[in-house]
Amino acid sequence: MRSPQGRVGCGCVAFLVLLALLGPLLANDEPIVCRHAGRWHFPGLVEAVHVLPGGSWLVEKSAPFRLPIFDAKRDLDPTAFALWPPVRFGPEEVSLNILQPPSRQHWLGTDDVGRAVVARLAHAAAASVRVGLGAMFVAGLIGVTIGGTAGYFGSWVDALLSRLIEIVICFPVFFLALGLMVWLEASITNVVLVIGLTRWTSIARYTRAEFIRLKHHDFVIAARASGAGPLRIMARHLLPNALAPILVSLSFGVAGAILIETGLSWLGFGVQPPTPSWGNMLRAAWEHMETAPHLLYPPCVAIFLAVLGFNLLGDAIREAADPTSRRQEATRQRGRCTAG
């Protein structure tokens, strides 16, 4: 993480993940904490917990914020205590001020049904992060299992699984995903599964290659001599030493998954409106390109930074794990010292 690119990548990724986690606390039409009719409520915090996977089982929304007719901005007693997020607009909060340019009230303007772009942008980060990390979690599980089995056992197992990997590589991922999404219900879970089930091949190949390289090391033979079985050898000896290239591949994969999700949402097969995603925001903006060009930039910049961030992070991991490049850097720094 020494290089400036690595820092930029880490920064982008950290910012994106924070945005995804804290979206409901940054832009919301409900207060973070408030006192209403003599009781304390935490509508914003509850929503933030709901963003986490499995969070909706953890806490439930409390009345009156559960009611569809309750409008916190109007119905909340103005004298009561309420802690509001910096942006007081929710991602799905419609108004009559449509297609407005950026102003003090709406920092990035409003879209075609009067929703605040800044709120949608922040909440869309959650969809992208969920798709990116979720898909690569699925892909990582499949890739490590298949690649690891092929690399460890070799011979006909390897031949069979390698052909399977090659077959999956042959399919163009985006069009396969598109084809599957036509049949499946368009939801984030399905997008995650479809990308995860098609993008595991490079991870499988890296895992296979690393396992083949490592399995003849003395420490693996020592484990076999102690009677350790294949599962134990793979989990405790091979995988921990093969992690660096797998992490690099995963990081690049997250960037790719975010792009695929954006593409699917653009075409209407991904995240469905009114839930915001950068893809469907871009689609809406594109339809009003002539009248409201300002709508185009926010999702574009967000996609650009997210993809750039994960790619730079992947590069940084590779550089940190690669002893030759580390040596080069040491030489470079030494050179700098003598020069200074």
């Binding site: 090391h217 420490f219 020592a222 076999r224 001599a225 102690s226 009677g227 079985g229 134990r232």
Partner: protein
Amino acid sequence: MRHAGNCNKVTDSRPLLSVGDLRVHFPIRRGVLGHAAGWAKAVDGISFDIPVGKTLGLVGESGCGKTTTGRAILRLIPATGGQVLLDGRDVFALKRGELRALRRNMQIVFQDPYGSLNPRMTVEAIVGEPLAVHRIARGRQRRDMVADVLQRVGLQLEHMNRYPHEFSGGQRQRVSIARAIVLNPRFVVCDECVSALDVSVQAQILNLLTDLQRDLGLTYLFIAHNLAVVQHISDRIAVMYLGRIVEIGERRDIFDNPRHPYTSALLASIPSLKPGVSRAKRRRVRLTGEVLSPAAVPTGCTFHTRCPFATELCRKDQPVLEPQADLHPNHHVACHRAGEEMMEKMENGK
């Protein structure tokens, strides 16, 4: 004699390990289809016994098949043929579960102290792993057993939570030894386990191995490429060349009365501080050239291409490992000219 080829029976005690006609051939694959174009005979029919609590030193140049022998005995690489009996049980005939159970009794220490320890595991995890695999102890008890064995090999308790890269080569080799003896095995293969160390550290590790053998009743197959190393630890010594044993005998016989020119050459290569004394009995035999590839073994005696005393007979006919009339009955040599003293050979040869 228990089976054919087992011609090195030691009279006084029963063998713990008995290797008979062990062969390990590797296919040399060529072309797209990868069919075997030939066979590299890494180990080509070797036999020896090791009695309980004794050490056999196995010596030879790089590539002569010593490491392959050690690994094939432990069934870490598949053998092409032959038989290995550990405590009377046929190692090659065991089923998976039985083999796993038998692994408690046979362990290995590797040459490379850097590659033989998993860099991502602490010393405690490395040494404790065999205990976990065989479900012998867990938690507190496992920790205590690991601490115990670490002290036995001369490491401190505070080393338990460290990683291999924090240790010197000698210390790592101690960790390796700790891992090998933690299961309390009966037989340990020491695969060139001091070759990568400094001479002073070599002596420490050799002393440690000797102490452990005395305290735990271990039996060693001690592999080395240098006779000097096995001199102090071995009871018997076998000299290997191109997959075959060319000379085997009691340590004193090998050192004082070598009959195979290859053994003489290895002895001559030991640097000595007392030239007048130790060299007097030996005649210098200098070898030229490299060890041949086991893929292209010459006809006749495999050593004839480098032997200064080779005759026409040596080029045609392969000598067998057999006792010599004028030697100790346990001292066997595979050389057509073994009966002649080295001086005579020097005069008659070439």
